[in-house]
Symmetry: C2
DNA sequence: CCGGATCCGAATCGATACTG
DNA sequence: CAGTATCGATTCGGATCCGG
C-alpha cells in the first residue's frame, strides 16, 4: 500500500508522506513519551478507529519511525526508532505553534496523560528553569495526574494516574506543591493570568503544599502566544 | 466546515488540525518562498485537484495561516500571515528529517522551482557558509533554474526559470559557476559524493564557470543523513 | 488566462462488531 | 491483548465547466 504520492521529489514532501497521514502525528506524540502497547495507544487516542491505528502502526514501521519490541514474556510494545525520536524538536515546535490557537476546549475534548506530558515539555523553558531553584510539582488535570520534577535545565515527568504502570521509574520524595487545574491552565502558561489570579479565578486549586511555588511553575512553563519561537 | 476533530485539548493536536490536512503543508511550503497566485500554486503542485486547493486555501485563511492580497489592479495572491511564517523553522526541520528517506525519484516525481528553493534553504548551513568566501551559484535541475547567492551566513535565492516573473528582485552580476544537476545532487548534499566525484559520475554537469566553487557549495549545503539535527 | 465551482467515481476514514 | 472484518459516511482525485 504505497502512500498516495504527491509526485514531488523533495524532503518536505517525503516527510509529509511518511508522517502526514491522519492520526500519525498523535501516535508519534504518545510514543514520544515512552513505549506503548496497542491498547495503551487506544486509551490515549480514544477516538481513533482500531483499523486506522493498526494501519498507521504498520506504515510507521515501514517508514522506520516506529518499531515493535517484546514486553515481558508475552505482550509487545511499540516504540520510536532513533529516526522517529529525531522528530522530537519538530513535535515540540508544532505544539508551541498550535498553542495560541487552542481556544476553549470543546465539550468532547479531553486531556490525556501523554498529551499533557508533551504539553509540559512543549512549554518547558530550560533557560528560565536553570535560573530558578529546583522544583517538584504534582499536577492534576481531570483524571490525569503527573509529577514534574525540574532540576536546573532538566525536566522529568512521571505519570501517576490514571495509568502509572509504565512510568519510567518510581518517583521518590514529596512534591513541593500539589495542585489541580482546568483547561484555563493555558492562561497561566501564556502569561494572561498570574498564578495568584488563576487561584482566585478558580482555574487552579492548591491541594497541598506551597502556593508560591507556582510562581516558579509559571516562569518555567511558558509559551508566549505572539513570539515566534525558534524550534531549538 | 469544522475540521474533523481529534477530540483532544492539546497544542500539537491543534496544530495538526490547522495544517495537517492533505496538501496543506505543501501549499505552505510554496508560499514560504513568496506570495503566489492560485494558478501559480496549481503549477507548483501539478497533482493537486483544483477543488482541494480551493478548500485548503479557505481553511488556511480561516486558521490565520494564509491571507489573500490584491496584486496589481486585478489579480490576487495568497501569502502567509506572520503566524504562518512562524512555521518556517518547522518546515525546514521537516525537510531535513525527510531528506534521508528520499531515495530515488519515482518516474512521475518532479522538482519544482519552489520545492527546490525550499530544499536549498533546508540544506543551508549558515555557520559553515559564514566561514567561507561569498559564492554565487546558478543551478539547473530539469526545467528549473535558480540563482543562489551566499554571502556570509546569508542566503538569497531567485528563481530564473521556468517562471521568473515573481522573483523577489532582479539579480545582478554573473554567477561564479553555472551547473546542471540531476536528482543525484542529493548525494552531494549528503556527502556521499564529493563534487568532483559527482561530475565524474555525470550527476553534475558544469555549464560554465569555476568547478572548484562546487566544493564551497557542498560545504554550504549539507544534510548529514545520520545526525539528529535540532530544528534551530 | 485567472480563479475558482460542480459533478462523480474511487479511495479512505470512522464506527462497530468480531476473533485468535 | 492485539488486532481483522465489515460497511456506511466522508473525503479525495480527476475532469469538466463557468463567469470575469
Amino acid at each position: 500500500m504505497a502512500a498516495r504520492s504527491y509526485g514531488q521529489y523533495c524532503g518536505i514532501t517525503t516527510a509529509v508522506e511518511l508522517i502526514g497521514e491522519r492520526w500519525a502525528m498523535l501516535i508519534i506524540r504518545d510514543l514520544m513519551v515512552g513505549a506503548r502497547r496497542y491498547t495503551d495507544l487506544q486509551r490515549g487516542l480514544p477516538k481513533i478507529p482500531s483499523n486506522i491505528l493498526s494501519t498507521r502502526l504498520k506504515e510507521l514501521q515501514e517508514a522506520g519511525v516506529v518499531r515493535r519490541a517484546p514486553l515481558y514474556r508475552t505482550g509487545l510494545v511499540y516504540e520510536l526508532t532513533a529516526y522517529g525520536r529525531q522528530l522530537e524538536p519538530i513535535l515540540l515546535a508544532l505544539g508551541r505553534w498550535g498553542f495560541p490557537k487552542m481556544g476553549e476546549p470543546g465539550p468532547d475534548d479531553l486531556v490525556t496523560a501523554d498529551s499533557l506530558t508533551m504539553a509540559l515539555r512543549t512549554a518547558f523553558r530550560p533557560d528560565a528553569a536553570a535560573a530558578l531553584p529546583a522544583a517538584d510539582y504534582e499536577l492534576h488535570v481531570g483524571e490525569v495526574a503527573l509529577r514534574a520534577q525540574v532540576d536546573r535545565s532538566d525536566l522529568r515527568i512521571a505519570q501517576l494516574a490514571p495509568n502509572p504502570a509504565l512510568s519510567p521509574a518510581a518517583v521518590v520524595g514529596d512534591p513541593d506543591v500539589v495542585f489541580a487545574a482546568g483547561p484555563g491552565i493555558r492562561l497561566v502558561i501564556s502569561g494572561e493570568l498570574t498564578p495568584a489570579e488563576a487561584i482566585d479565578a478558580g482555574v487552579v486549586h492548591i491541594i497541598s503544599g506551597d502556593a508560591t511555588v507556582l510562581e516558579r511553575f509559571a516562569e518555567t512553563f511558558h509559551i508566549d502566544p505572539l513570539e515566534a519561537r525558534s524550534a531549538a
